[in-house]
């Protein structure tokens, strides 16, 4: 294969070289060509100026990556708000029950009940997170212990994310003739009875075979 000449050398190949996206073979091809065509070095510098290696250019506009400490702090904030929301919910029920019991007892003793309700204050010290509420709880994800699959096509068994195959790891054991007793065997829609495999040998399944279509 001949090295492309300056007039037909694709600029995209030079740009890919500047961005470090070429294979070893293509890189050596471009470097050979650059060694013979020094006038293209200017184009290469221009391409490199806009490449990902120019931290001065792309750094100010790249999105900040949260540190491990940022993730831990965010997780703690969510957990604190969830605990508080649960506490508020239970506190509300307990308060309601207490008020009802007090009101029922005192209704006949005091002329008029008086009580003050004070709403607990949610912490607002988590920067960047809205005030806590039940709606802010993370979606609870089910584990395999929470899911029981009732019916499963075998073609989907390899696609399960959570949940176990309905058969789990059980071994399929088929009944022997001595373990099955027929009480009533119906016919097919044409009035024919199925064939009953009821030989005494244990190597024969006590199966029913539906009558063959003629």
């Amino acid at each position: 294969m001949t090295t492309p000449r300056p007039e037909n050398f694709p600029l995209e190949l030079l740009a890919a070289y500047a961005d470090g996206e070429l294979s070893t073979e293509d890189r050596s091809r471009v470097e050979c060509w650059l060694a013979e065509n020094h006038e293209a070095l200017e184009d290469l510098e221009t391409q490199e100026a806009f490449g990902p290696g120019n931290v001065d250019l792309w750094g100010p506009v790249s999105p900040p990556s949260p540190s491990a400490d940022d993730w831990i702090a965010t997780r703690e904030c969510i957990g604190r708000q969830m605990r508080l929301a649960n506490r508020v919910r239970w506190a509300g029920w307990a308060g309601t029950f207490g008020l009802l019991a007090t009101a029922a007892t005192l209704m006949f003793v005091l002329p008029a009940p008086q009580h003050n309700c004070v709403d607990p204050e949610l912490p607002r010290d988590c920067d960047g997170l809205p005030p806590g509420s039940i709606d802010d709880e993370p979606y609870p994800m089910a584990s395999s212990a929470d899911v029981r699959i009732i019916s499963l096509p075998e073609s989907a068994s390899g696609l399960l994310v959570v949940g176990e195959h309905p058969l789990r790891d059980s071994f399929l054991s088929f009944a022997k003739m001595s373990e099955v007793q027929f009480h009533n065997v119906g016919t097919d829609l044409a009035g024919r009875f199925p064939e009953v495999m009821n030989e005494a040998a244990d190597d024969v399944l006590p199966m029913l075979w539906a009558p063959r279509e003629p």
Binding site: A104, S173, E179, V185, L189, L205
Partner: protein
């Protein structure tokens, strides 16, 4: 004068009294239904169907491919019926009879595709199987539907 406070305390005591006893939980029978597609045009046998394949081939050696198509496990009460999916729109209706037999075994009444009712009793945790005359596919893709049904648990003889 003291009637109203005493009445309110009595009402509270009545309200806080023990809850009425719940009715005993009904016995649950776990029924497993397998839909198996059997072919004479391939030799792939599902790992769980090796024993089944050997026993079927005693009668029909030409049947060599055994594919597990659908597995369904449901809990039924004694006397309850349920339609279990097989393949396509085909179902098998399974009824767990109200009474166990004298050995504590479960009696099942099944209505397979194209058949009337069949009633049988089977040892616990063992599958009973049946070859239906329902086929899927055509030509080399033609497969015969077999079903296997198991119910558990049994109870010891009382």
């Amino acid at each position: 004068m003291y009637r109203f406070p005493l009445l309110s305390i009595a009402c509270l005591l009545v309200g806080l009294g023990p809850a009425p006893a719940e009715p005993p939980a009904k016995e649950q029978i776990e029924v497993q239904v397998l839909a198996i597609l059997v072919s004479e045009n391939h030799k792939n046998v599902h790992p769980k169907l090796g024993e089944f394949a050997k026993l079927v081939q005693v009668k029909e050696p030409r049947l060599t491919g055994f594919k597990l198509e659908q597995t369904t496990v449901k809990s039924l009460e004694l006397g309850q019926s349920e339609k279990m999916p097989l393949v396509g729109k085909e179902v098998v209706e399974v009824t767990v009879n109200k009474e166990r037999n004298e050995k504590g075994r479960i009696l099942l009444t099944i209505t397979p595709p194209g058949m009337n009712q069949i009633t049988y009793e089977c040892a616990c945790s063992k599958f009973f199987s049946m070859a239906t005359e329902h086929y899927v596919g055509k030509g080399k893709d033609r497969q015969q539907l077999f079903i296997a049904i198991m119910a558990s648990p049994c109870k010891g003889k009382k």
